[in-house]
């Protein structure tokens, strides 16, 4: 197993570990006398302005960002696949409707989708994930449709059909093996895009509570001590950029 090939996966898992375990409780204000102190033996990245261990908050934040981005990627891809299925099944009616809706919606960034959703819903994790998933839906749908149509029209698929393969069997044995790499790449792209947008929305304040540890939200929280302790606001961005670089990693 070549570790370089699995770098994105390993990094994502390392980040997700922050959801289960961190050196200290990311929300506990146990070290108020140390507030804004730099790195030390027990607090490797120092303590934030409210006396919370920064490494724990950063780790937990990275885990949240990765987890939520993966959730919205899965949701976005799933919805795209479902819409694509419906559009292919009923091309005259639903297909046209979905096509026009996607052409329109592509102009809306997830930020505006998020604002629209906020009219209905309270700021919460579900709103956050839904905004990003729906915001990227037109992009994901279009990409999936291109992959699907090129594969569907391929000659070896036609050959399989002539030989009597159809339905699920045709999909599983003939279409999916060729679709899989493209879908995997798309998923990687979507995950990176989602993490970026998610942290942007969190930075804007679209989080359940103002102290919520998430990379974008951490930057907003620590912006108030930017003059005294710039690393507290800057470190989450470095972590995020590293994660995104890994998600777009090509060997």
């Amino acid at each position: 197993m070549d570790p370089r090939r699995h770098l994105p996966l390993l990094l994502a898992l390392a980040a997700l570990l922050g959801l289960l375990w961190t050196p200290h409780d990311p929300d506990a204000q146990n070290f108020r006398e140390l507030a804004l102190h730099g790195p030390s033996g027990s607090h490797w990245l120092g303590v934030d302005g409210l006396g919370r261990d920064f490494l724990s908050r950063l780790w937990c934040g990275a885990g949240r960002t990765v987890g939520l981005a993966l959730l919205s990627t899965v949701l976005g891809l799933g919805l795209s696949a479902a819409f694509l299925f419906l559009a292919e099944r009923f091309p005259k009616t639903l297909g046209r409707l979905i096509g026009s809706a996607v052409n329109l919606a592509v102009a809306l960034p997830s930020l505006f989708v998020g604002l629209l959703l906020l009219v209905f819903l309270k700021p919460s994790l579900a709103t956050l994930v839904l905004s990003v998933a729906l915001g990227n839906l037109p992009f994901a749908y279009r990409q999936l449709r291109v992959f699907w149509q090129t594969q569907r029209a391929a000659q070896h698929v036609e050959a399989s059909e002539t030989l009597g393969s159809a339905g699920w069997e045709l999909f599983r044995r003939t279409l999916w093996p060729n679709l899989r790499p493209a879908v995997a790449t798309l998923a990687g792209q979507l995950a990176a895009l989602s993490a970026l947008e998610l942290s942007g929305l969190a930075f804007l304040g679209l989080v359940p509570n103002p102290d919520f540890p998430e990379l974008g939200a951490l930057m907003r929280q620590n912006q108030s001590v930017l003059a005294q302790a710039p690393w507290l606001a800057l470190a989450p961005g470095v972590v995020l950029a590293g994660l995104l670089a890994a998600a777009r990693w090509r060997k």
């Binding site: 052409n103 592509v106 505006f112 209905f120 970026l196 800057l234 995020l240 950029a241 777009r248």
Partner: protein, 339 residues
């Protein structure tokens, strides 16, 4: 040109559909969600008083009547008064949009030339010149713009002390008389160079940081376009005629790329506005972002219904115009559209 008209009609029909869908969505969302926007304003709502205010705002009329009034008001520019500020929504929207457009246009003004220059230098090259393209693309795709803004604040505001930490204007600077609403333009019109410098100092960091997004976009797309085989053949033919590489890039390739560039920016106008909203929040810029976020979180009905609808329509409109322009400018697409 023949193919452009049907496309334009098609796009206008789409725009009308978008208007209908978005206005209905906002209308029902604001009214039918539990949590009355009027009762929300009171700690201990007195039913009689709430009913009186609802009546005053016209919230107790039948829904079709309300919807008709809403759409009619939106189209004629009568957007009502904000529940929070008590000021006319149209005026608040205009000043917020001016601030946002000032930021957005300034960022385009330096971002697009930067992206184009990087693409012209890097396309088809190897080594550091190509590295410039992938570097800028990487920054645009992998680094959040608000993080760059934070770095800018640390360096230029806290360490060097050169630039203000946020806002569009300082209390200590004398504002130029308002004509266009764009501070830079107003200062120039008044011939007031110290006001111009003050406005520029406030605009510099947010515009620099937001501009990297269009720069990365333009550099990436343009490089892909310039590295297409057909373009390579053209540039080989032109250099065979004795054109120097730089003249070739500046004259011929840039002309080739101008049309797709306009389209690219139109298509991504919504995303650019979204980026502007985040930049605004970082630099406490008094633009659309602040107006919309407050309105949405506080359920300020007239602002949500009108200002949010206007912003959504603006993104749709920019994309529709870009698509139409693409068909007019690109013969391939025109042929495809006519078919």
């Amino acid at each position: 040109m023949r193919g452009a008209l049907p496309i334009l009609f098609h796009k206008l029909a789409g725009l009308a559909a978008a208007f209908l869908a978005a206005s209905l969505l906002l209308f029902t969302a604001v009214r039918l969600i539990p949590g009355d926007p009027v009762a929300l304003r009171f700690k201990n709502p007195d039913p009689a008083r709430v009913a009186e205010i609802r009546h005053h705002l016209g919230l107790d009329d039948p829904l079709p009547v309300q919807y008709g009034r809403y759409v009619g008001g939106f189209v004629t520019g009568d957007w009502g008064r904000g529940l929070l500020s008590g000021r006319p929504v149209a005026g608040e929207f205009r000043s917020a949009l001016t601030a946002t457009l000032e930021l957005t246009l300034a960022s385009l003004l330096w971002g697009v030339p930067l992206g184009a220059a990087v693409a012209l230098v890097g396309a088809g090259a190897r080594g550091w010149r190509r590295g410039l393209v992938s570097g800028l693309g990487g920054v645009g795709l992998m680094v959040p713009i608000f993080w760059l803004g934070l770095v800018g604040l640390v360096v230029f505001t806290h360490w060097l002390g050169w630039l203000p930490g946020g806002g569009r204007w300082s209390f200590s600077d004398l504002a130029p008389p308002e004509r266009t609403g764009f501070l830079l333009v107003d200062a120039l019109l008044a011939g007031d160079f110290s006001a111009f410098a003050a406005a520029l100092r406030h605009l510099a960091l947010p515009a620099l940081c937001l501009g990297l997004f269009p720069a990365a976009l333009v550099a990436g797309t343009l490089t892909t376009r310039l590295e297409e085989p057909s373009v390579e053949i053209l540039s080989r033919a032109l250099s065979a005629r004795g054109l120097s590489p730089w003249r070739l890039r500046a004259r011929h390739l840039l002309k080739l790329a101008a049309a797709p560039l306009a389209v690219l920016i139109g298509t991504n106008f919504g995303a650019l506005l979204g980026g502007a909203v985040i930049t605004e929040s970082l630099f406490s810029w008094p633009g659309m972002g602040r107006l919309l976020m407050t309105a949405v979180l506080e359920r300020d009905v007239p602002v949500v219904e009108n200002a949010l609808l206007a912003v959504l329509l603006l993104s749709f409109l920019a994309a529709a115009l870009a698509d139409t322009a693409a068909v007019i400018l690109d013969p391939h697409l025109r042929r495809a559209a006519n078919r």
